[in-house]
């Protein structure tokens, strides 16, 4: 079924197409009175190409994890749409929905929490196959071993009988990645895949993901708050702020020429390995990220923005402008 679909879609069209996606969480009192909505994702649009590696960057609470979960179909979008391989994800049901779930792999932040503690590695990796109707034991075993090899765990037998608590953090995350791979997905969404790992194994895991991505020509969507590592592992960056994408461009372009004041502030906050930094106080954007329950009118960054223009930024929502070629920024400064 999946080969049929893959053949039907043109290979040049984007794999994922997101239009004006909104994921709001309703707050209710006494179980039925609506008292407001947390706008975790509020009007996000982007395309992801096949075999492309992108990063979503932003501070905690900016809605990047909610975006990931919406893409995975774990949250129902409040509005807008997600298309995958030409199919509207919201409309999928039954076997089509299972196909979509098999096509999108998920790598979580906390590798230990992401693995059921009462299952051994074999069972953990077999579960997705069982759910997707791979009933043949030998076939399952073959695919499990292939996935393990791909994440450089093994050879097989010893690790297959281990329980998650017997593995190191890096090994756990490799099992999580292997689980995302056993169904041979077209896209992997990795939500802060290394933030809970030791610094020493971070690079290994990131390299592993990058290698698997290029070998399988997967679409890889990284969610991260760490701009410093993004450069080596992503082709394109989306900077998110308060539920919106405020800037997007190729990695080098964005890092060299940040346009949006928020991106500029983020980049300024990255500490270089430099002894002088120890004694330097940096300029960071003052204030807190805005409340997603009552976002500020106009540009959501304006209360913290050093360039805020009264009468414009606090009134009207900026659209997407293109200050440089293939470089989009949602800031009134770039209005032409």
């Amino acid at each position: 079924m999946s080969t049929e679909r893959a053949a039907s879609a043109e290979s040049t069209s984007p794999l994922v197409s997101v239009r004006d996606l909104r994921t709001w969480f309703e707050l209710r009192q006494w179980g039925f009175l609506r008292v407001g909505s947390v706008r975790a994702v509020d009007g996000v649009s982007f395309d992801l190409g096949r075999g492309e590696s992108v990063a979503f960057v932003g501070e905690s609470g900016c809605g990047k994890s909610s975006l990931a979960r919406t893409l995975l179909g774990l949250h129902r979008p409040t509005g807008g749409e997600v298309s995958f391989d030409g199919y509207r994800v919201q409309d999928l049901a039954g076997r089509d929905l299972q196909w979509y779930r098999a096509s999108v792999g998920y790598v979580q932040q906390d590798p230990y929490g992401a693995l059921p503690p009462f299952m051994d590695v074999r069972r953990i990796l077999a579960e997705p196959l069982v759910v997707h109707g791979v009933t043949d034991r030998a076939e399952r075993e073959r695919r499990i071993r292939r996935a393990l090899e791909e994440v450089r765990l093994g050879p097989g037998d010893a690790i297959l009988d281990q329980f998650p608590h017997m593995l190191s953090g890096g090994q756990q995350q490799r099992v999580v990645i292997a689980r995302a791979l056993v169904l041979e997905p077209a896209m992997i969404i990795a939500d802060e895949p290394v933030s809970m790992l030791d610094a020493s194994v971070r690079v290994e895991i990131l390299n592993l993901l990058r290698r698997i991505q290029s070998e399988r020509s997967l679409t890889l969507a990284f969610i991260t708050h760490d701009l410093s590592t993004v450069r080596h592992y992503a082709d394109r960056i989306f900077v998110m702020y308060a539920g919106r994408i405020v800037e997007q461009a190729q990695v080098d372009e964005l890092l060299e020429h940040p346009q949006h004041p928020y991106t500029q502030a983020l980049l300024a906050a990255i500490a270089d390995v430099d002894a002088a930094n120890a004694r330097r106080v940096r300029d960071v954007p003052a204030g807190e990220p805005p409340s997603l329950l009552h976002p500020p009118p106009g540009c959501r960054f304006h209360p913290r923005c050093p360039h805020a223009m009264a009468g414009t930024c606090d009134v009207r929502d900026p659209g997407m402008f293109e200050p440089r070629r293939d470089h989009l920024s949602a800031c009134w400064l770039h209005e032409r």
Binding site: G31, R69, L72, G73, L74, L97, Q98, R101, A102, V104, G105, Y106, Q108, Q109, D110, G113, A114, L115, P116, P117, F118, D120, E127, P128, V131, H132, D161, F163, V176, R179, L183
Partner: protein, 443 residues
């Protein structure tokens, strides 16, 4: 699987686990033996009482208790005419038969009762018998004569005229040393009951069984209906274990699944389950069971059904819910949803197994509470009317004022078995708790 094996291996370190397990294994062994040795239908038949027990004494204590206390109370002696030297002489239209039934009596207490069971065959008219009692000294005491039906019982110990003649109940008087005054003492030696019968018919025959009932019987003694208590004590074991286990499994499984379902779906489903639970918690279980038993039926399996039905929305739901709520948020469940695991799979394969190790000890200690519940119902007179159970024995003992009459064995045996059951499961359960419940681990 390996984790369970490791847990079991660790159990060996706890003496209470070994002791508890030994008790449980003993009870299971007794159950298996009972079910094989006394088939269900036969057990029901026996417990119904009646003719099957006619040769058993009433309210006899266990032999071993008496012997242990240095007593020498008589057990039951049965003398059959088949083994006796019968002499018979034919006459016109019938036969004259003499059957001497002899037996040795070495005990230092009197028997509790004497009955003679007679069965005549191929007679044209009712036979006539005349009885004489011969003591070891050679004295002959005539016991009178009477006509006998085809199957008849002559209750020698109920013979009023004889009692009047002897000045004491016949089963005492016939054995008492003749010279002694005051407290009668039994005379040891060979006694003989001589039956002279006149049978009418060419081929007529007579069979006679003399039963000198003892004051002790078997391992467990007998009750007021002459039933051997062993039947009930043995059969009570599988019944108690089955009831306890089925009730514990039934309530735990349903409660767990319902709690997990509520937690997983949340919202209205959860709220409904919670409200039902809160209503159910305040329903008193025992009175409801008494009501069902009084108005409907006291069948034990119906009671089991009611117990499970009342147990579904029990307080356990609140406990399981509290344990499951954080698990619902676990990343591995989110991952399972992401690869398409369905609701049933998530509830049964991802949520419940997570708390199962912690529940095993609770489950084990839950079993005896249901065993006790069944016994309580039986003591209240709501036990299964046909099934022999420990509770039924206690109930009989209570209605017959066993303790007032000094029949302690009647109460102690079933109570001890109940206590052993509780002790075994509790000891094993507490040890399991230490192994599987991480908070209680000592090292």
């Amino acid at each position: 699987m390996r984790r369970w094996l490791e847990g079991l291996r660790e159990l060996r370190r706890y003496p209470s686990a070994i002791g508890g397990l030994a008790l449980i294994v003993f009870l299971i062994a007794v159950s298996v033996y009972t079910v094989i040795a006394i088939p269900y239908s036969q057990a029901l038949e026996l417990w119904r009482g009646g003719e099957a027990w006619r040769m058993h004494p009433v309210n006899a204590g266990p032999v071993w208790v008496d012997r242990l206390l240095g007593g020498d109370k008589p057990d039951t002696t049965v003398v059959r005419s088949e083994d006796a030297e019968t002499r018979s002489a034919a006459f016109d239209g019938g036969r004259q038969v003499r059957i001497p039934l002899s037996f040795d009596y070495p005990h230092d207490d009197f028997p509790s009762e004497i009955n003679l069971f007679l069965e005549t065959r191929d007679t044209e008219r009712e036979a006539f018998v005349r009885l004489r009692w011969q003591t070891p000294d050679g004295d002959i005491i005539p016991l009178g004569g009477r006509r006998v039906a085809r199957e008849d019982r002559i209750s020698i110990s109920q013979n009023q005229t004889l009692e009047g003649r002897l000045g004491m109940p016949p089963h005492v008087g016939l054995f008492a040393r003749s010279t002694d005054a005051g407290q009668p003492v039994p005379d040891n030696g060979r006694y003989r009951l001589i039956i002279d019968a006149i049978l009418f018919g060419e081929d007529a025959s007579l069979e006679a069984d003399l039963v000198v009932y003892g004051r002790v019987h078997g391992i467990a003694g007998t009750d007021h209906q002459r039933r051997d208590l062993m039947v009930a004590l043995l059969w009570g074991t599988p019944v108690a274990l089955a009831f306890g286990l089925l009730a514990a499994v039934g309530t735990t499984v349903t409660t767990l699944v319902i709690a997990a379902t509520g937690v997983w779906f949340g919202g209205l489903v959860d709220a409904t389950i919670q409200r039902l639970t809160e209503v159910n918690i305040i329903l008193p279980v025992l009175p409801v069971l008494v009501m069902v038993g009084t108005l409907y039926s006291t069948n034990i399996w119906l009671m089991l059904g009611v117990v499970i039905a009342l147990g579904i929305f029990s307080a356990g739901i609140k406990m399981y819910r509290a344990m499951l709520l954080p698990i619902r948020q676990a990343p591995y469940i989110e991952a399972a949803r992401a690869y398409g695991a369905g609701n049933a799979r998530i509830i049964l394969r991802y949520m419940i197994p997570r708390i199962l190790p912690v529940l095993i000890p609770t489950f084990v200690t839950l079993i005896p509470t249901y065993v006790f519940l069944e016994a309580s119902l039986a003591v209240l007179g709501l036990g299964d009317p046909v099934l022999p159970t420990w509770g039924k024995v206690l109930n009989d003992a209570q209605t017959q004022s066993a303790l007032y009459n000094g029949f302690y064995y009647w109460v102690i045996a079933p109570a001890l078995l109940l206590m052993l059951t509780g002790l075994g499961f509790a000891m094993f359960g507490f040890a399991l708790d230490r192994v599987f419940n991480p908070r209680l681990r000592t090292q």
